[in-house]
């Protein structure tokens, strides 16, 4: 995709605000831009204003929907619980030092994995990171791909694969039970000087491959926590899994 791509010299992430506002970025670019958005208030404000502008175009395409659709929508919401307002997130994991080894907090994991339930995942539009097959494949097939796996009680397994050359990490899960009702699994990258930075929310599926948002080449560890639906800005609970990347402290 030419030199104008994340990670290459001369790449200006700032200029993507318009394409991002109209969902015109591919998955890699979107992940890069969302990382940038998290630390750029100017871009957040610009994206918000450009989304407003784009939304005015819907005035020119308005079409009355079939009456039956109204019935279906209203029937659907009648059986769906609205989410509570987002609670302010206390910081507990942010300042934690990365651990040297793959680590599993058994108590927390047991509590999580024992609870079933069919929570439905909600993600803000800008938090969604549907996986780019190409980037996932690039990580999994990279010559320098490093893997570490964790087995949970009940047969679930999580494998974290990261590649410094690709600069991304992929979480592969098998037989993963759904999070407790009202909760989601959120993945994090531990970035030097910043602590745990959100790498996205995990879709609720037993077996999946999740491309983590963020630069895995600079990260020292990856973690999974259980967060309130919608996710948190910082981890609010101890990780159920921590994968150390084995870099020197």
């Amino acid at each position: 995709m030419s030199s104008d791509y994340p990670g290459n010299p001369g790449y200006d992430v700032h200029a993507l605000s318009g394409a991002y506002a109209v969902d015109a970025l591919d998955d890699l670019e979107r992940a890069a831009f969302e990382r940038h958005l998290a630390e750029c208030p100017e871009c957040r404000a610009e994206v918000a204003s450009l989304r407003e502008a784009a939304g005015t175009l819907a005035e020119t395409t308005a079409v009355e929907p079939p009456a039956a659709l109204r019935d279906r929508v209203l029937a659907g919401i009648a059986t769906t619980r609205p989410l509570p307002p987002e609670a302010p997130a206390p910081v507990s994991l942010a300042s934690r030092r990365p651990r040297r080894r793959v680590n599993l907090l058994v108590a927390a994991a047991a509590a999580v994995l024992a609870v079933g339930g069919g929570a439905v995942l909600w993600q803000q539009p800008w938090q969604e990171s549907s996986q780019a097959p190409s980037a996932v494949e690039a990580v999994l097939s990279a010559a320098d791909a490093k893997r570490s796996s964790l087995d949970f009680d009940g047969g679930a397994r999580a494998t974290l694969v990261h590649s410094d050359s690709v600069g991304r990490a992929v979480l592969v899960t098998e037989k993963m039970p759904p999070p407790p009702p009202g909760k989601v699994y959120q993945v994090w990258l531990d970035q030097p000087g910043k602590g745990m930075v959100s790498a996205g929310l995990m879709p609720v599926r037993e077996d999946q491959r999740v491309l983590l948002a963020g630069d895995a080449a600079t990260a020292t560890a990856a973690g999974i926590t259980v967060e309130p639906e919608g996710g948190s800005d910082k981890p609010t609970s101890d990780p159920i899994a921590l994968f150390d990347f084995g870099r020197k402290a």
């Binding site: 995709m1 030419s2 104008d4 200029a15 993507l16 605000s17 318009g18 394409a19 506002a21 109209v22 969902d23 015109a24 970025l25 591919d26 918000a48 204003s49 450009l50 989304r51 407003e52 502008a53 784009a54 939304g55 005015t56 175009l57 819907a58 005035e59 020119t60 395409t61 308005a62 079409v63 009355e64 929907p65 079939p66 659709l69 109204r70 279906r72 929508v73 209203l74 659907g76 919401i77 009648a78 769906t80 619980r81 609205p82 989410l83 509570p84 307002p85 987002e86 439905v120 909600w122 803000q124 539009p125 969604e128 549907s130 097959p133 919608g230």
Partner: protein, 205 residues
């Protein structure tokens, strides 16, 4: 444009109650606030005030009316579930609804394309280049009239780039190919076009 029908023919009418003329934005915010508490009647009013724009956008992006209905249903369900997360200081209620809708519509076309591209090259898929015009669909509301006027502030290439990206659901890289622009310049045209549209409409800033 088979799926786009003009709604309400004739000249724009300044009267309330014209197609697409919903409540004032502050009313939408109030309806969202009530919806967040589980008020289904408020949500029904929110639906009535916005469904034409939500459904019309979904139809415009995904083209297939049956899929557009599914997208609309998904979007409204998410709006209901996440109404408490709407932040009035970050944008208008309608803008928020349309952001959710647009994302779902784009996800729909991209996943459909990912499924069909395995058997066809990217190039073949994109041979019939369709230059969407943002002004081609007719909707006789004052607001639509204003938007069309504002689009005149954009250069032709900006207008085409914004239209292909937002109403066509294409990535900026695809837009560049469709408009014979160097890769990397389409995103600039999209951004510049949106900024002009924003300033001409006086929204969001």
């Amino acid at each position: 444009m088979d799926h786009i029908r003009p709604v309400g023919a004739g000249a724009p009418s300044p009267e309330e109650g014209a197609p697409g003329a919903g409540p004032e934005p502050s009313d939408l915010a109030e309806l969202l606030r009530l919806s967040a508490r589980g008020d289904e009647q408020a949500f029904a009013r929110l639906y009535d005030a916005t469904a034409a724009r939500v459904f019309g956008l979904a139809v415009r992006v995904v083209r297939d009316p049956a899929q557009a209905e599914e997208v609309t249903q998904e979007a409204f369900l998410e709006i209901w579930r996440t109404a408490s997360r709407f932040a009035p200081d970050k944008g208008s209620p309608l803008g928020w609804l349309l952001t959710i809708t647009h994302r779902k519509a784009v996800d729909r076309v991209r996943s459909a394309e990912a499924a069909t591209r395995r058997d066809a090259t990217y190039h073949e898929q994109n041979q019939p280049v369709e230059h969407d015009s943002t002004a081609e669909a007719a909707h006789a509301s004052l607001e639509a009239h204003r938007v069309r006027g504002a689009l005149a502030a954009l250069t032709e290439v900006q207008r085409e780039a914004v239209g292909l990206a937002y109403l066509g659901g294409y990535t900026h890289t695809e837009v560049a190919t469709m408009l014979d622009l160097p890769v990397g310049t389409a995103k600039t045209r999209i951004r510049d076009g949106l900024i002009r549209l924003r300033d001409a409409m006086g929204v969001g800033s």
